[in-house]
Every structure is written in C-alpha cells, then in structure tokens.
Amino acid sequence: MSYLKRLPKFEYVSPQSLAEVCALIAGTSNEEVMLLAGGTDAILQMRRRERVPRRVIGLKGVADLEFVREQADGSLAIGAMTTLQTLLAAPVVSQRYDVLRETAAQIGGHELRNVATIGGNIAGALPCADLPPALMTLGARIKLSSQRGDRWVPLEDFFPEFGRTVAEDDELVAEISLPRPTSNSAGAYLKFHDRHSMDMTVVGVSAFVVRDDDGRTFRDLRLAYANGAPTVFRAKRAEAVLRGHALTEDGLEAVAETACAESNPRTSWRANGEYRLELIRVLTKRAIRRAWEKASSQKGTKS
C-alpha cells in the first residue's frame, strides 16, 4: 500500500544556479544525495522506499537549466529542466524535430507533462523512458556538468546497463544538444501500451528516415527502442539493412527481423519477452513507414 505512505525524511536544498548545484553534488554519492527534477518518478521512488536519500537537491529553481535555444551552428540546445509541455509547445521543436513533439505528447497526461522534464526522463535511465529513443535517433548529445568541468557524451553511449548512466556521482545532466536534421528527413515514435494514455510503455520504437534526393531510397535510417532491452538502445545492424535501398515489404521484413535479433526484451507482469518481440517486429515496420511518409510530405526541413 505504498500510496498511503508519506515520503521518507530528508533534508532539502534549492540551489538557484548550475554552479551551485555542481558545488552541492561535488564529493557526494547518489546513495545519500538525490537530484529532484520534475519529481514525477523520483517522488514515487521515495514513496516506495526504493530510494531514501539523506538530502534532496531541488532543481526547479535553477533558471539556467530551463531553455530551448537555437544555436548559431543550426543545432538546438535544450536545458535539462525544460518540461515536456514546454518542449512539445516550442515552435522550433514541431518545425524541425517533430518526432520529439510527437513523443512528448504521448507521455502521461497534462498534469505530468507540466512538471516532468527532459533531463529527468534521461537521467532516470529507465528502459521504458520514451524520450531517449527519439533523442537517440536524432543524434542527441548530453552535456554533463560538474565542478571538474563539462563533458559531452552521445546519448547512444549514455546507458551502460539497466538503471545506470555513465554520469559520475558528481555530475548532472545539464543540457541536450540536437544537430540540425538534414533535408528529406523525418522521424516517428510509436509506442504500445494497454490503455490509450497514462500508461507505461510496453515497447516503443523511434524511426528516423533520411531519403535520397531522388526520394526513392534510404540515405539513412536510425532505429532506437524503449523496452527492447535492459536499456534504451540503437539497433545498428537493423539500421544498415535498408540503407541505399528502396522501401519494399521484404526490406521492412528484414529490418524488423534484424531488430528482433538485436533486442533482448524482458518478461514482466506487463508483457512477456516473446510478446514484446512481436511488438518490436510490427512497430519497427510501422514506424519506418510512417517516418518515410513524413519525410516525403515535408520535402526539406530548412525554415
């Protein structure tokens, strides 16, 4: 009856700047200190006593972690504390990274999206998180900040194993950078869950397609999965199958087959592994088709 429980006791601090946060987490361990972003997951973890931190560092007041900014080099910089609602409502996101808008819109309900953040969705390192697959196919890089300095890590290298990230205990996810998508490209995110909304993802597939200038073949294809394995991951062998080829039923079948071979979904009360594999097979084909159609309807992404 975890829902009746109150939260465990903790000390609370609310830094106002990124530098302050870095100073607060320097020399601490994740066991004793918890960073609280939106809190829609973290508060539940505390209520269930899955995490019992001595100290909670609230990030909601850190203004320099909340931004959606177009950079001079054409990339997009997103602050870790940007809420899902801000993200999906940002014009630049729907114009240039529609798969991100589409993904954010499929997470939870309004109450959750008004609070949950992109940084929290990534740093939580859950295999069922929906934003990481979409961000991976967009080629996202993550900025980790600490008192020792900043470093950038490709998102596809960010989750070494279930529930973990490559961030050290004194580092936090500060920013997400997305390269400008090339023309003739588009992405789609499809997820399966039992209810229409407000449900955990059973399997999620993000497909990102770049079409050749002639529009007939795949210049590039990227695929990433939620709940396809103990971590969100890119299926790179499957991606290679259709590169340089036209869209055919046989080709899609081969991609889906390879993606299943690369996946290792778990069995849980929500769904067993075989069922998830079947979902991966079906959703992979569907997501590629959808991304392909979106890429053709929007000839270029130049704005």
């Binding site: 829902y3 429980k5 939260l7 909670v56 909601k60 007041g61 939870g108 309900g109």
Partner: protein
C-alpha cells in the same frame, strides 16, 4: 537539525506563511496544514487526477509536488478565491446541471483541469476535452456527463463573455 522550512504559499489569492517539513507534499500541506480538504488524495501516483491543483495556472498533481517547491507560486484549488471566480463557478454549476457529479470524489480534480483547459482553449471540441481528461479517473459517470458538463461550461463562459462585451459596447 531544525527541519522546519519557512514557506510562503499563495492559495486562491491568500498568502499563508507556514513552517513545513520538506518531505511533505503540496497535497498534504493543503489538506492537513491549511485544512483545505477539497483537493482529494486517491492514487498517490499521479494516475487518477483527484489531487489536481493549478500552479501558476497549470494543472499539476499535488501528490507528486513538494510543498516547499510551491514557494512563491500561485496555487488555485477547488475552494476558489474569496469573493468568487466566475470561471470556477460556471464550471461547477455546469457539472451540477449536467449530472457530472455522482460520488463527487473525482470532481475537484475534474473541475480544476477544466479550468486549465478553458483558460487556453475556450472552445474545445470533444476530442480536446477527452484529451484534457486523460489523467482523470471517474468510477461513477462513465465520463459522458463530464464531457457534456465541460461543453456546457465552455458555452456558458462564451455567453458571459459576449454579454460583457455587449454591455461595454452599450
């Protein structure tokens, strides 16, 4: 350690200076410290919408929000401001008129998400209304009357706005 933190909360336009422990949720402080029991606790997981309040005009689940983090924010609950709130009153009377209230436990959350919806989308279609309600569970009505109540509230607010414009024009 002295774990009481002084917090200034503004609820329905009234300021409250309270000293609270940081692990208490906004829902707990509203209900237990401020004795505003209109906001309900149900699932405790952000699934059911019974505890929805507006923070700076946006719907949030107060069971998943630390009260200390609501410092300085404008909090609106089902109790409404002293002196009344025409939008809130319209929504509540539409819910009553359309039979959208049976046991009533989900109603405060339903009313608050409706207020959020109509504040940025005064003429929602049925799909938009149902989308606003995805995070709200009702075990009695089957949602049909709730959707009708929201449509009725939207019409009522449009009529009131029209009336106001006419008066100003005259």
């Amino acid at each position: 350690m002295n774990d009481l933190i002084p917090v200034s909360l503004r609820v329905n336009g009234v300021g409250y200076d309270v000293a609270i422990r940081p692990w208490r949720t906004l829902l707990e402080v509203l209900r237990e410290t401020l004795a505003m029991t209109g906001t309900k606790r149900s699932c405790g997981e952000g699934q059911c919408g019974a505890c929805t309040v507006l923070l700076d005009g946006k719907a949030v689940s107060s069971c998943l929000y630390l009260a200390v983090e609501a410092q300085g924010k404008d909090i609106q609950t089902i109790e409404g401001p002293v002196g009344g709130d025409p939008a809130l009153e319209q929504i509540q009377s539409s819910f009553a008129a359309k039979g959208a209230v049976q046991c009533g436990f989900c109603t405060p959350g339903m009313v608050m998400i409706t207020k959020d919806l109509l504040s940025h989308n005064p003429e929602p279609n049925e799909d938009e209304i149902r989308d606003a309600l995805v995070g709200h569970l009702c075990r009695c009505t089957g949602y049909v009357q709730i959707v009708e109540a929201i449509q009725d509230a939207a019409r009522g607010m449009q009529d009131a706005a029209g009336e106001m414009a006419r008066k100003e024009g005259a």
